[in-house]
Amino acid sequence: MLTHLVFWGLAVVAVLAGVAVFVVNSMARASYSLALSFIAVGLQVLLLQQLYVGVLVILMMVMEMAIMAVYMNMFMGMNPAMMSMNMVHGARHALPVSVGVFLLLAAGALFAPWPSRRGSPPEDVTVALGTELMGPKMLTMGVVGVVMAATIVSGVVLAAHRTRYDRFGDDLRRRRVADPQPGGVGR
Protein backbone atom coordinates (compact mmCIF):
# COMPACT_ATOMS: atom_id res chain seq x y z
CA MET A 1 0.00 0.00 0.00
CA LEU A 2 2.70 2.41 1.07
CA THR A 3 4.66 1.55 -2.04
CA HIS A 4 1.66 2.42 -4.19
CA LEU A 5 1.16 5.75 -2.48
CA VAL A 6 4.81 6.63 -2.85
CA PHE A 7 4.78 5.54 -6.46
CA TRP A 8 1.79 7.71 -7.34
CA GLY A 9 3.19 10.64 -5.41
CA LEU A 10 6.45 10.38 -7.31
CA ALA A 11 4.58 9.95 -10.58
CA VAL A 12 2.68 13.19 -10.02
CA VAL A 13 5.90 15.01 -9.09
CA ALA A 14 7.73 13.63 -12.13
CA VAL A 15 5.06 14.64 -14.64
CA LEU A 16 4.24 18.03 -13.12
CA ALA A 17 7.93 18.92 -12.88
CA GLY A 18 8.26 17.82 -16.50
CA VAL A 19 5.44 20.15 -17.52
CA ALA A 20 6.94 22.94 -15.44
CA VAL A 21 10.11 22.80 -17.55
CA PHE A 22 8.23 24.40 -20.44
CA VAL A 23 5.99 26.62 -18.39
CA VAL A 24 8.10 28.46 -15.85
CA ASN A 25 9.56 31.85 -16.56
CA SER A 26 13.14 31.28 -15.60
CA MET A 27 15.90 29.17 -17.00
CA ALA A 28 17.17 28.16 -13.60
CA ARG A 29 13.71 27.02 -12.60
CA ALA A 30 13.29 25.16 -15.88
CA SER A 31 16.50 23.18 -15.55
CA TYR A 32 15.99 22.39 -11.89
CA SER A 33 12.40 21.32 -12.60
CA LEU A 34 13.85 18.82 -15.02
CA ALA A 35 16.29 17.73 -12.31
CA LEU A 36 13.35 17.23 -9.96
CA SER A 37 11.56 15.15 -12.58
CA PHE A 38 14.66 13.00 -12.91
CA ILE A 39 14.99 12.59 -9.16
CA ALA A 40 11.38 11.43 -8.95
CA VAL A 41 11.94 8.91 -11.75
CA GLY A 42 15.17 7.77 -10.12
CA LEU A 43 13.30 7.09 -6.89
CA GLN A 44 10.64 5.20 -8.82
CA VAL A 45 13.35 3.06 -10.37
CA LEU A 46 14.55 2.43 -6.80
CA LEU A 47 11.01 1.26 -5.98
CA LEU A 48 11.29 -1.10 -8.94
CA GLN A 49 14.26 -2.66 -7.11
CA GLN A 50 16.90 -1.49 -9.57
CA LEU A 51 18.95 0.22 -6.93
CA TYR A 52 22.11 0.95 -8.84
CA VAL A 53 20.42 2.35 -11.92
CA GLY A 54 18.02 4.41 -9.81
CA VAL A 55 20.73 6.10 -7.78
CA LEU A 56 22.80 6.56 -10.92
CA VAL A 57 19.94 8.41 -12.63
CA ILE A 58 19.79 10.85 -9.69
CA LEU A 59 23.55 11.30 -9.59
CA MET A 60 24.05 11.95 -13.26
CA MET A 61 21.02 14.05 -13.89
CA VAL A 62 21.47 16.46 -11.00
CA MET A 63 25.01 17.04 -12.18
CA GLU A 64 23.87 17.48 -15.75
CA MET A 65 21.19 19.95 -14.78
CA ALA A 66 23.67 21.98 -12.74
CA ILE A 67 25.72 22.32 -15.93
CA MET A 68 22.57 22.84 -17.98
CA ALA A 69 21.58 25.81 -15.85
CA VAL A 70 24.98 27.38 -16.47
CA TYR A 71 24.63 26.97 -20.22
CA MET A 72 21.12 28.31 -20.26
CA ASN A 73 22.12 31.44 -18.48
CA MET A 74 25.26 31.75 -20.54
CA PHE A 75 23.40 31.67 -23.83
CA MET A 76 20.29 33.50 -22.82
CA GLY A 77 21.61 36.14 -20.48
CA MET A 78 19.04 36.05 -17.76
CA ASN A 79 18.79 37.08 -14.18
CA PRO A 80 16.71 35.53 -11.43
CA ALA A 81 13.87 37.93 -12.05
CA MET A 82 10.96 36.18 -13.65
CA MET A 83 10.32 37.34 -17.16
CA SER A 84 7.95 35.94 -19.68
CA MET A 85 9.91 33.39 -21.60
CA ASN A 86 7.99 32.52 -24.71
CA MET A 87 10.36 30.63 -26.91
CA VAL A 88 7.82 28.57 -28.72
CA HIS A 89 7.76 28.28 -32.50
CA GLY A 90 5.21 25.95 -34.01
CA ALA A 91 3.17 25.22 -30.93
CA ARG A 92 0.26 24.71 -33.29
CA HIS A 93 1.54 21.33 -34.36
CA ALA A 94 3.45 20.40 -31.24
CA LEU A 95 0.47 20.24 -28.93
CA PRO A 96 -1.83 17.97 -30.98
CA VAL A 97 1.09 15.75 -31.97
CA SER A 98 2.18 15.21 -28.40
CA VAL A 99 -1.39 14.70 -27.17
CA GLY A 100 -1.87 12.15 -29.92
CA VAL A 101 1.33 10.37 -29.02
CA PHE A 102 0.28 10.32 -25.39
CA LEU A 103 -3.10 8.79 -26.22
CA LEU A 104 -1.47 6.20 -28.43
CA LEU A 105 1.14 5.24 -25.84
CA ALA A 106 -1.38 5.26 -23.01
CA ALA A 107 -3.72 3.02 -24.96
CA GLY A 108 -0.83 0.68 -25.63
CA ALA A 109 0.17 0.72 -21.98
CA LEU A 110 -3.33 0.04 -20.71
CA PHE A 111 -4.74 -2.36 -23.28
CA ALA A 112 -1.80 -4.30 -24.64
CA PRO A 113 -1.74 -7.88 -23.31
CA TRP A 114 1.43 -7.56 -21.23
CA PRO A 115 2.98 -10.95 -20.58
CA SER A 116 3.21 -12.15 -17.04
CA ARG A 117 6.62 -12.20 -15.51
CA ARG A 118 9.08 -14.68 -16.96
CA GLY A 119 11.81 -15.78 -14.61
CA SER A 120 12.37 -14.29 -11.19
CA PRO A 121 14.49 -11.33 -10.20
CA PRO A 122 18.01 -12.16 -9.08
CA GLU A 123 18.80 -12.29 -5.38
CA ASP A 124 20.98 -9.20 -5.49
CA VAL A 125 20.10 -7.09 -8.48
CA THR A 126 23.26 -4.97 -8.29
CA VAL A 127 25.58 -7.99 -8.16
CA ALA A 128 23.70 -9.52 -11.07
CA LEU A 129 24.15 -6.32 -13.05
CA GLY A 130 27.85 -6.22 -12.25
CA THR A 131 28.39 -9.84 -13.24
CA GLU A 132 26.46 -9.27 -16.43
CA LEU A 133 28.51 -6.20 -17.29
CA MET A 134 31.83 -7.83 -16.62
CA GLY A 135 30.78 -11.08 -18.29
CA PRO A 136 28.48 -11.41 -21.29
CA LYS A 137 28.02 -7.67 -21.79
CA MET A 138 31.69 -6.79 -21.57
CA LEU A 139 31.68 -5.81 -25.22
CA THR A 140 28.79 -3.39 -24.72
CA MET A 141 30.56 -1.72 -21.86
CA GLY A 142 33.78 -1.56 -23.81
CA VAL A 143 31.99 0.24 -26.62
CA VAL A 144 30.23 2.54 -24.14
CA GLY A 145 33.58 3.45 -22.59
CA VAL A 146 35.11 4.28 -25.95
CA VAL A 147 32.07 6.33 -26.94
CA MET A 148 32.31 8.32 -23.70
CA ALA A 149 36.00 9.04 -24.18
CA ALA A 150 35.38 10.07 -27.79
CA THR A 151 32.57 12.34 -26.59
CA ILE A 152 34.81 14.12 -24.14
CA VAL A 153 37.47 14.73 -26.79
CA SER A 154 35.15 15.75 -29.60
CA GLY A 155 33.04 17.90 -27.30
CA VAL A 156 36.06 19.85 -26.19
CA VAL A 157 37.35 20.16 -29.75
CA LEU A 158 34.00 21.41 -31.00
CA ALA A 159 33.52 23.93 -28.23
CA ALA A 160 37.03 25.21 -27.67
CA HIS A 161 38.36 28.22 -29.47
CA ARG A 162 42.05 27.97 -28.77
CA THR A 163 43.87 24.99 -30.19
CA ARG A 164 47.19 23.51 -29.18
CA TYR A 165 48.83 25.66 -31.85
CA ASP A 166 47.65 28.73 -29.99
CA ARG A 167 48.97 27.31 -26.76
CA PHE A 168 52.24 25.70 -27.77
CA GLY A 169 53.16 27.72 -30.85
CA ASP A 170 52.99 26.73 -34.52
CA ASP A 171 55.72 24.13 -34.17
CA LEU A 172 54.33 22.91 -30.82
CA ARG A 173 57.74 23.52 -29.27
CA ARG A 174 56.86 26.25 -26.81
CA ARG A 175 57.75 25.01 -23.36
CA ARG A 176 55.65 27.41 -21.37
CA VAL A 177 52.03 27.44 -22.44
CA ALA A 178 50.70 30.75 -23.66
CA ASP A 179 47.42 30.94 -21.74
CA PRO A 180 45.63 34.15 -20.88
CA GLN A 181 45.80 33.12 -17.25
CA PRO A 182 48.24 30.57 -15.81
CA GLY A 183 46.91 27.19 -14.70
CA GLY A 184 47.90 25.28 -11.61
CA VAL A 185 50.38 22.77 -12.93
CA GLY A 186 53.03 25.35 -13.70
CA ARG A 187 53.46 24.65 -17.37
Binding site: M74, G77, M78, N79, A81, A160, H161, R162, P180, Q181, P182, G184, G186
Partner: protein
Protein backbone atom coordinates in the same frame (compact mmCIF):
# COMPACT_ATOMS: atom_id res chain seq x y z
CA UNK B 1 14.89 40.16 30.94
CA UNK B 2 13.30 37.31 29.03
CA UNK B 3 14.35 35.33 26.03
CA UNK B 4 14.90 38.27 23.72
CA UNK B 5 17.07 39.97 26.31
CA UNK B 6 19.20 36.88 26.79
CA UNK B 7 19.43 36.47 23.04
CA UNK B 8 20.51 40.08 22.67
CA UNK B 9 23.16 39.68 25.35
CA UNK B 10 24.60 36.57 23.70
CA UNK B 11 24.40 38.09 20.25
CA UNK B 12 26.23 41.23 21.35
CA UNK B 13 29.27 39.26 22.35
CA UNK B 14 29.87 38.59 18.68
CA UNK B 15 28.55 41.54 16.75
CA UNK B 16 29.77 42.01 13.20
CA UNK B 17 30.96 45.39 11.93
CA UNK B 18 31.14 46.69 8.43
CA UNK B 19 33.93 49.23 8.47
CA UNK B 20 34.00 52.01 5.89
CA UNK B 21 37.19 53.99 5.64
CA UNK B 22 37.04 57.50 4.26
CA UNK B 23 40.36 57.98 2.43
CA UNK B 24 42.95 59.38 4.79
CA UNK B 25 41.50 57.87 7.96
CA UNK B 26 43.29 54.59 8.01
CA UNK B 27 44.46 54.95 11.61
CA UNK B 28 40.86 55.27 12.74
CA UNK B 29 39.91 52.19 10.76
CA UNK B 30 42.78 50.24 12.30
CA UNK B 31 41.71 51.35 15.76
CA UNK B 32 38.15 50.20 15.09
CA UNK B 33 39.41 46.84 13.88
CA UNK B 34 41.66 46.40 16.88
CA UNK B 35 39.21 47.43 19.57
CA UNK B 36 36.35 45.52 17.98
CA UNK B 37 38.56 42.44 17.85
CA UNK B 38 39.38 42.85 21.52
CA UNK B 39 35.64 42.78 22.30
CA UNK B 40 35.27 39.52 20.39
CA UNK B 41 33.50 41.28 17.53
CA UNK B 42 34.19 40.42 13.97
CA UNK B 43 34.53 42.28 10.72
CA UNK B 44 31.65 41.72 8.35
CA UNK B 45 32.28 41.07 4.68
CA UNK B 46 28.99 42.38 3.34
CA UNK B 47 26.12 44.53 4.61
CA UNK B 48 23.93 41.43 4.97
CA UNK B 49 26.49 40.07 7.39
CA UNK B 50 26.75 43.23 9.51
CA UNK B 51 25.09 44.58 12.64
CA UNK B 52 27.11 47.76 12.91
CA UNK B 53 28.06 50.20 10.21
CA UNK B 54 31.20 52.01 11.29
CA UNK B 55 32.15 55.03 9.19
CA UNK B 56 35.71 56.17 9.84
CA UNK B 57 36.14 59.85 9.00
CA UNK B 58 33.64 62.23 7.50
CA UNK B 59 32.51 61.05 4.08
CA UNK B 60 32.11 63.39 1.13
CA UNK B 61 28.85 63.65 -0.79
CA UNK B 62 29.45 60.64 -3.05
CA UNK B 63 30.53 58.32 -0.26
CA UNK B 64 27.64 59.54 1.88
CA UNK B 65 25.23 58.21 -0.72
CA UNK B 66 27.02 54.87 -0.72
CA UNK B 67 26.92 54.72 3.06
CA UNK B 68 23.19 55.52 3.07
CA UNK B 69 22.48 52.72 0.62
CA UNK B 70 24.58 50.27 2.62
CA UNK B 71 22.75 51.31 5.77
CA UNK B 72 19.48 50.33 4.10
CA UNK B 73 20.94 46.90 3.34
CA UNK B 74 21.86 46.08 6.92
CA UNK B 75 19.30 43.47 7.97
CA UNK B 76 18.86 44.77 11.49
CA UNK B 77 19.14 44.93 14.45
CA UNK B 78 21.55 47.59 13.33
CA UNK B 79 23.57 50.50 14.59
CA UNK B 80 25.54 53.16 12.80
CA UNK B 81 28.52 54.93 14.25
CA UNK B 82 30.60 57.75 12.83
CA UNK B 83 34.11 57.84 14.20
CA UNK B 84 36.19 60.92 13.52
CA UNK B 85 39.45 60.00 15.22
CA UNK B 86 41.22 56.96 16.69
CA UNK B 87 40.76 58.11 20.28
CA UNK B 88 36.98 58.26 19.87
CA UNK B 89 36.66 54.64 18.81
CA UNK B 90 36.08 53.06 22.22
CA UNK B 91 33.23 55.41 23.04
CA UNK B 92 31.65 54.87 19.63
CA UNK B 93 31.74 51.12 20.03
CA UNK B 94 30.07 51.44 23.44
CA UNK B 95 27.40 53.52 21.84
CA UNK B 96 26.84 50.95 19.10
CA UNK B 97 26.51 48.24 21.71
CA UNK B 98 23.92 50.25 23.60
CA UNK B 99 21.90 50.82 20.43
CA UNK B 100 21.99 47.14 19.54
CA UNK B 101 21.02 46.17 23.07
CA UNK B 102 17.95 48.39 22.97
CA UNK B 103 15.48 45.79 21.76
CA UNK B 104 12.38 48.05 21.71
CA UNK B 105 14.21 50.58 19.61
CA UNK B 106 15.32 47.89 17.18
CA UNK B 107 11.74 46.60 16.99
CA UNK B 108 10.53 50.06 16.05
CA UNK B 109 13.24 50.36 13.44
CA UNK B 110 12.32 46.98 12.02
CA UNK B 111 8.60 47.79 11.97
CA UNK B 112 9.30 51.05 10.19
CA UNK B 113 11.18 49.18 7.48
CA UNK B 114 8.58 46.46 7.01
CA UNK B 115 6.50 46.77 3.91
CA UNK B 116 9.03 48.97 2.22
CA UNK B 117 10.02 46.26 -0.20
CA UNK B 118 13.39 44.62 -0.52
CA UNK B 119 16.29 45.89 1.51
CA UNK B 120 18.32 46.46 -1.56
CA UNK B 121 18.09 50.14 -2.31
CA UNK B 122 18.40 50.09 -6.07
CA UNK B 123 15.12 49.54 -7.83
CA UNK B 124 15.81 50.60 -11.38
CA UNK B 125 14.55 48.40 -14.15
CA UNK B 126 16.51 45.29 -14.74
CA UNK B 127 17.67 45.46 -18.29
CA UNK B 128 18.92 42.54 -20.25
CA UNK B 129 22.66 42.73 -20.63
CA UNK B 130 24.17 43.36 -24.01
CA UNK B 131 26.84 41.05 -25.32
CA UNK B 132 30.39 41.26 -26.54
CA UNK B 133 33.18 38.81 -27.18
CA UNK B 134 35.06 37.45 -24.21
CA UNK B 135 38.73 36.54 -24.22
CA UNK B 136 38.00 33.20 -25.91
CA UNK B 137 36.08 34.88 -28.70
CA UNK B 138 32.74 33.68 -27.39
CA UNK B 139 29.95 36.21 -27.29
CA UNK B 140 29.07 36.75 -23.67
CA UNK B 141 26.80 39.06 -21.81
CA UNK B 142 28.56 41.99 -20.27
CA UNK B 143 27.77 42.78 -16.70
CA UNK B 144 28.59 46.22 -15.37
CA UNK B 145 29.69 45.88 -11.79
CA UNK B 146 31.01 48.62 -9.59
CA UNK B 147 33.78 47.26 -7.39
CA UNK B 148 34.21 49.38 -4.32
CA UNK B 149 34.28 51.77 -2.64
CA UNK B 150 33.18 49.39 0.15
CA UNK B 151 34.50 45.87 -0.13
CA UNK B 152 36.47 43.81 2.36
CA UNK B 153 40.23 44.31 1.98
CA UNK B 154 39.83 46.97 -0.67
CA UNK B 155 41.84 50.21 -0.89
CA UNK B 156 39.89 53.06 0.67
CA UNK B 157 38.03 55.18 -1.82
CA UNK B 158 38.89 53.21 -4.92
CA UNK B 159 36.05 52.55 -7.35
CA UNK B 160 36.50 50.25 -10.31
CA UNK B 161 33.71 50.18 -12.86
CA UNK B 162 34.30 46.77 -14.35
CA UNK B 163 32.85 45.17 -17.44
CA UNK B 164 32.51 41.54 -16.49
CA UNK B 165 32.17 38.52 -18.76
CA UNK B 166 31.07 36.01 -16.18
CA UNK B 167 33.77 36.64 -13.60
CA UNK B 168 36.34 37.91 -16.08
CA UNK B 169 37.21 41.60 -15.94
CA UNK B 170 37.15 42.56 -19.62
CA UNK B 171 38.03 46.15 -18.93
CA UNK B 172 37.70 48.59 -16.10
CA UNK B 173 37.57 52.31 -15.44
CA UNK B 174 38.95 53.53 -12.18
CA UNK B 175 38.06 56.48 -10.08
CA UNK B 176 38.35 57.73 -6.55
CA UNK B 177 35.26 58.39 -4.55
CA UNK B 178 34.74 62.11 -3.83
CA UNK B 179 37.75 62.86 -6.01
CA UNK B 180 37.01 66.54 -6.19
CA UNK B 181 37.17 66.98 -2.45
CA UNK B 182 40.69 65.78 -1.80
CA UNK B 183 41.63 64.46 1.63
CA UNK B 184 39.11 65.78 4.05
CA UNK B 185 40.27 68.64 6.20
CA UNK B 186 42.15 67.50 9.25
CA UNK B 187 42.55 63.98 7.87
CA UNK B 188 45.70 62.26 8.82
CA UNK B 189 48.16 61.21 6.15
CA UNK B 190 51.03 58.90 6.84
CA UNK B 191 54.23 60.74 7.59
CA UNK B 192 52.40 63.93 6.84
CA UNK B 193 54.87 66.31 8.44
CA UNK B 194 55.52 69.41 6.34
CA UNK B 195 59.26 68.91 6.47
CA UNK B 196 59.25 65.79 4.32
CA UNK B 197 61.44 64.13 6.93
CA UNK B 198 60.47 60.67 8.05
CA UNK B 199 60.71 60.46 11.79
CA UNK B 200 60.80 57.24 13.84
CA UNK B 201 57.09 57.34 14.64
CA UNK B 202 56.31 57.90 11.00
CA UNK B 203 58.62 55.04 10.07
CA UNK B 204 56.63 52.74 12.35
CA UNK B 205 53.44 53.98 10.79
CA UNK B 206 54.76 53.42 7.29
CA UNK B 207 55.80 49.90 8.23
CA UNK B 208 52.42 49.32 9.85
CA UNK B 209 50.69 50.34 6.67
CA UNK B 210 52.79 47.88 4.66
CA UNK B 211 51.78 45.16 7.14
CA UNK B 212 48.15 46.18 6.82
CA UNK B 213 48.33 45.88 3.06
CA UNK B 214 50.11 42.53 3.36
CA UNK B 215 47.40 41.34 5.74
CA UNK B 216 44.79 42.25 3.16
CA UNK B 217 46.59 40.38 0.43
CA UNK B 218 47.02 37.32 2.68
CA UNK B 219 43.35 37.43 3.63
CA UNK B 220 42.34 37.59 -0.01
CA UNK B 221 44.62 34.65 -0.73
CA UNK B 222 42.57 32.78 1.88
CA UNK B 223 45.30 32.27 4.47
CA UNK B 224 43.56 33.45 7.61
CA UNK B 225 46.26 32.71 10.16
CA UNK B 226 48.97 34.60 8.32
CA UNK B 227 46.64 37.54 7.71
CA UNK B 228 45.84 37.64 11.42
CA UNK B 229 49.53 37.64 12.27
CA UNK B 230 50.22 40.48 9.89
CA UNK B 231 47.49 42.47 11.64
CA UNK B 232 49.04 41.71 15.00
CA UNK B 233 52.37 43.06 13.74
CA UNK B 234 50.60 46.15 12.46
CA UNK B 235 48.96 46.80 15.81
CA UNK B 236 52.26 46.28 17.65
CA UNK B 237 53.99 48.75 15.36
CA UNK B 238 51.33 51.35 15.93
CA UNK B 239 51.43 50.77 19.68
CA UNK B 240 55.16 51.43 19.61
CA UNK B 241 56.21 47.91 20.65
CA UNK B 242 58.98 47.99 18.15
CA UNK B 243 61.16 45.07 19.18
CA UNK B 244 58.26 42.66 19.61
CA UNK B 245 56.95 43.75 16.23
CA UNK B 246 60.34 43.20 14.58
CA UNK B 247 60.58 39.61 15.81
CA UNK B 248 57.00 38.84 14.85
CA UNK B 249 57.53 40.37 11.46
CA UNK B 250 60.65 38.31 10.84
CA UNK B 251 58.74 35.18 11.78
CA UNK B 252 55.86 36.10 9.48
CA UNK B 253 58.23 36.75 6.59
CA UNK B 254 59.86 33.37 7.06
CA UNK B 255 56.51 31.67 7.20
CA UNK B 256 55.23 33.35 4.09
CA UNK B 257 58.43 32.67 2.15
CA UNK B 258 58.31 29.00 3.06
CA UNK B 259 54.69 28.42 2.13
CA UNK B 260 54.81 26.47 -1.10
CA UNK B 261 51.06 26.46 -1.46
CA UNK B 262 50.90 30.25 -1.29
CA UNK B 263 53.77 30.58 -3.70
CA UNK B 264 52.10 28.15 -6.08
CA UNK B 265 48.85 30.05 -5.93
CA UNK B 266 50.33 33.55 -6.36
CA UNK B 267 53.17 32.87 -8.81
CA UNK B 268 52.74 34.16 -12.36
CA UNK B 269 49.64 36.10 -11.39
CA UNK B 270 49.62 39.69 -12.57
CA UNK B 271 53.22 40.00 -13.77
CA UNK B 272 54.39 43.59 -14.23
CA UNK B 273 57.70 44.21 -16.00
CA UNK B 274 59.64 47.40 -15.14
CA UNK B 275 58.85 49.21 -18.40
CA UNK B 276 55.16 48.58 -17.90
CA UNK B 277 55.39 49.99 -14.38
CA UNK B 278 57.12 53.09 -15.68
CA UNK B 279 54.49 53.55 -18.36
CA UNK B 280 51.68 53.25 -15.83
CA UNK B 281 53.32 55.52 -13.29
CA UNK B 282 53.69 52.81 -10.65
CA UNK B 283 56.63 52.44 -8.30
CA UNK B 284 59.50 50.36 -9.70
CA UNK B 285 59.66 48.11 -6.63
CA UNK B 286 56.40 46.51 -7.77
CA UNK B 287 58.25 44.55 -10.45
CA UNK B 288 57.34 40.88 -10.69
CA UNK B 289 54.18 38.93 -9.93
CA UNK B 290 51.86 39.03 -6.93
CA UNK B 291 54.10 36.69 -4.98
CA UNK B 292 57.13 38.95 -5.49
CA UNK B 293 55.12 41.98 -4.49
CA UNK B 294 53.85 40.31 -1.31
CA UNK B 295 57.38 39.53 -0.23
CA UNK B 296 58.47 42.99 -1.29
CA UNK B 297 55.78 44.53 0.88
CA UNK B 298 56.88 42.58 3.92
CA UNK B 299 60.56 43.32 3.38
CA UNK B 300 59.82 47.02 2.96
CA UNK B 301 58.02 46.87 6.28
CA UNK B 302 60.99 45.17 7.89
CA UNK B 303 63.41 47.62 6.29
CA UNK B 304 61.44 50.62 7.43
CA UNK B 305 61.09 49.56 11.01
CA UNK B 306 64.52 47.97 11.26
CA UNK B 307 66.48 50.70 9.50
CA UNK B 308 67.97 53.69 11.30
CA UNK B 309 65.48 56.35 12.19
CA UNK B 310 64.96 59.03 9.67
CA UNK B 311 65.98 56.99 6.69
CA UNK B 312 63.86 57.74 3.68
CA UNK B 313 62.17 54.69 2.42
CA UNK B 314 61.38 53.81 -1.12
CA UNK B 315 61.81 56.09 -4.01
CA UNK B 316 61.68 59.72 -3.12
CA UNK B 317 59.58 61.69 -5.46
CA UNK B 318 55.95 62.42 -5.68
CA UNK B 319 54.06 61.31 -8.72
CA UNK B 320 52.35 63.80 -10.88
CA UNK B 321 48.78 64.25 -9.88
CA UNK B 322 49.28 63.23 -6.29
CA UNK B 323 47.28 65.32 -3.90
CA UNK B 324 49.21 67.69 -1.74
CA UNK B 325 49.99 66.23 1.62
CA UNK B 326 51.04 62.78 0.46
CA UNK B 327 54.38 62.33 2.10
CA UNK B 328 57.75 61.66 0.65
CA UNK B 329 58.40 57.97 0.20
CA UNK B 330 54.84 56.98 -0.44
CA UNK B 331 53.98 57.70 -4.04
CA UNK B 332 50.33 57.94 -4.81
CA UNK B 333 48.99 55.23 -7.05
CA UNK B 334 47.25 56.53 -10.16
CA UNK B 335 43.80 54.88 -10.33
CA UNK B 336 44.10 54.47 -14.09
CA UNK B 337 47.06 52.17 -13.51
CA UNK B 338 44.97 50.01 -11.20
CA UNK B 339 42.29 49.72 -13.86
CA UNK B 340 44.86 48.82 -16.46
CA UNK B 341 46.60 46.04 -14.51
CA UNK B 342 43.41 44.16 -13.64
CA UNK B 343 42.02 43.99 -17.17
CA UNK B 344 41.98 40.49 -18.58
CA UNK B 345 42.05 38.70 -15.23
CA UNK B 346 39.24 37.05 -13.38
CA UNK B 347 37.78 38.70 -10.30
CA UNK B 348 39.72 36.66 -7.75
CA UNK B 349 43.09 37.35 -9.34
CA UNK B 350 42.13 40.94 -10.05
CA UNK B 351 41.46 41.43 -6.35
CA UNK B 352 44.83 39.86 -5.53
CA UNK B 353 46.56 42.13 -8.03
CA UNK B 354 44.94 45.27 -6.63
CA UNK B 355 45.93 44.25 -3.12
CA UNK B 356 49.46 43.53 -4.24
CA UNK B 357 50.00 47.09 -5.46
CA UNK B 358 50.63 48.19 -1.85
CA UNK B 359 48.48 51.26 -2.24
CA UNK B 360 49.06 53.95 0.35
CA UNK B 361 47.14 56.73 -1.31
CA UNK B 362 45.36 57.19 -4.58
CA UNK B 363 46.06 59.97 -7.02
CA UNK B 364 43.07 62.10 -7.78
CA UNK B 365 43.42 62.05 -11.55
CA UNK B 366 40.83 59.68 -12.90
CA UNK B 367 40.29 58.29 -16.31
CA UNK B 368 36.57 58.65 -16.06
Amino acid sequence: MGVSGALARLALRHAHLLVIEVPGNWLTRVAVERLAGARGWRLAVSPADADILAVCGSPGPELSLVVASLWEQLPGPRARIDVAAPELVAAALDQAEAVLRDTPRQRRDSAARDGRGPDDASDDDIALAHGSEDRDGLEMDVLHVRLGPVLPDWPAGLVLRAHLHGDLVAKAHAGVVDAGHGPAGGAHVVGGGPSGEVGPADAAELAAQRCDNAARLLALAGWRDAAQRARVVRDRLLAGERSAATTELARLRRRVRRSRLLRWSLRRVGPLPPDELARLGLAPELTGDVWDRLNGMLSRAALTVGGPAGVAVGPVGVEAGAPAGVPVGVPATPPAAVASVVSGWDLATARLIVASLDIAALGVVTDG
